[in-house]
Symmetry: C2
Subunit: 225 residues, 2 copies
DNA sequence: ACTAAAAGATGACAAATATCATATTTTAAT
DNA sequence: ATTAAAATATGATATTTGTCATCTTTTAGT
């Protein structure tokens, strides 16, 4: 297993603010974990005793609603840190994490990283900034949910995935998820999600190959009422 | 104007983590501000050059949606700190703040408090914890918006206000806001908000006196489908 | 106290979305 | 390669919510 000091993923998250010495200490105690597609990384209400650093793959953070449906709150890819909030507040996690495809992760025990959080102000500030950014995003999503149509939200998530996670060589969105997941992200019934994607396809705004989606007309998504 | 060191409000927010010396320094440079009901404290996109500490009154934090409607993201009362996120990220504010009734606030310039944020780990950790809590709440709201009916959300906001901000001696919710604001909180049309509150009234779940609302049957709200 | 303006209330109708049923296609396991 | 299970697709219909119009009540300013 590679060392944190030389791990490129770290550049994408708060761990970049740790000193060389701190990183070596973290590296020494971290453990590598592999999760298969569909596997649960942790579940709402669990006590986490560390954080996960995503090396490859994608996972969804979800929260169970009282109606029994899961709502996707955030998608996390390479560089993401899972369990930050629980680490900071020392509460049980309020979200579940499920792998959307095969994932490689590093697990860093709480005991080790907690010290850094308390003693390295640069690290703390960086975690704080990330959290502030998460909050901004969450508020933004809240407004979308409250004020925009399902169609508009679907257009936005397609653009979001396109802009943040990119496409493969053929132009297909590099994150491939089920219609059910799309429904769970935009907060609608699976049938409605399917219907809207079908409609986009008919209108030539997207095209599909199996579960893969390619955006054919980004501008149409952008200007969709 | 009273001094921060002896201000009771501070106990409710992160300022409690400042040392006596730091507090005195903050106290020396803070300015008192009064806002009248309806007055804008700051607007989305503004550069804030400090944070506001709420001494009395209530304000709403809102975000403008593309459809032209404001969405209330959070209600802030005594002890709340406005502008935390902007302080941390050094970005323009992503929310607007509007007084819902007459408010007394203290304004603390960024220059002064920024130092503490960088140098007092206890303070930084406290701000971080508050932010983590805000994030949890925001995610929670997101799920409500996405998965629950307008009626259910209305029931929840009534309970939320009851539980978090309390009632006056006659049992009326101590926060008094317009139906339009209720609509903007639950993310619906004003008419729908009015209709639902009327329905609650008919069913004896709430009673009203002018704009004041009293919860008559908390359990009914709790179990509302 | 009077009056204009704002807020609240309600009906009628339109639009968006959910639900249920069922058919088809794709995926994954043997 | 075959087949069962899962995912996708689509129609019919019900439910929820939004919009527009109009009326009544409350609030705030002179």
């Amino acid at each position: 297993m590679s060392k944190c000091e030389s791990c490129i993923v770290r550049e994408f998250n708060s761990l970049k603010s740790l000193s060389r010495e701190e990183l070596m200490r973290v590296s020494a105690c971290k453990t590598g974990k592999i999760f298969k597609k569909g596997q649960v990384i942790f579940e709402e209400g669990e006590t986490l005793n560390g954080v996960y650093c995503v090396k490859s793959g994608v996972c969804k953070l979800t929260k169970l609603s009282e109606n029994g449906k899961d709502q996707v709150v955030k998608l996390v890819v390479k560089g993401g840190l899972l369990g930050k909030r629980s680490l900071v507040t020392e509460q049980k996690t309020n979200l579940s994490a499920v792998a959307l495809n095969d994932m490689e992760m590093c697990f860093i025990p709480k005991s080790e990283i907690m010290d850094d959080l308390n003693k390295n102000p640069k690290f703390t500030m960086d975690v704080l900034k990330t959290m502030a950014e998460d909050l901004k995003e969450s508020d933004q999503s809240l407004v979308s949910m409250a004020q925009k149509s399902v169609k508009r939200r679907m257009a936005e998530i397609l653009m979001y995935i396109h802009d943040n996670f990119g496409t493969d060589d053929d132009g297909y969105l590099s994150i491939v998820i089920s219609r059910e997941d799309y429904a769970s992200i935009v907060g609608t019934a699976t049938e409605s999600a399917i219907r809207i994607l079908s409609q986009f396809k008919k209108e030539g705004i997207i095209s599909t190959k199996g579960k893969q989606i390619k955006i054919e007309d980004y501008v149409a998504l952008k200007w969709m009422e």
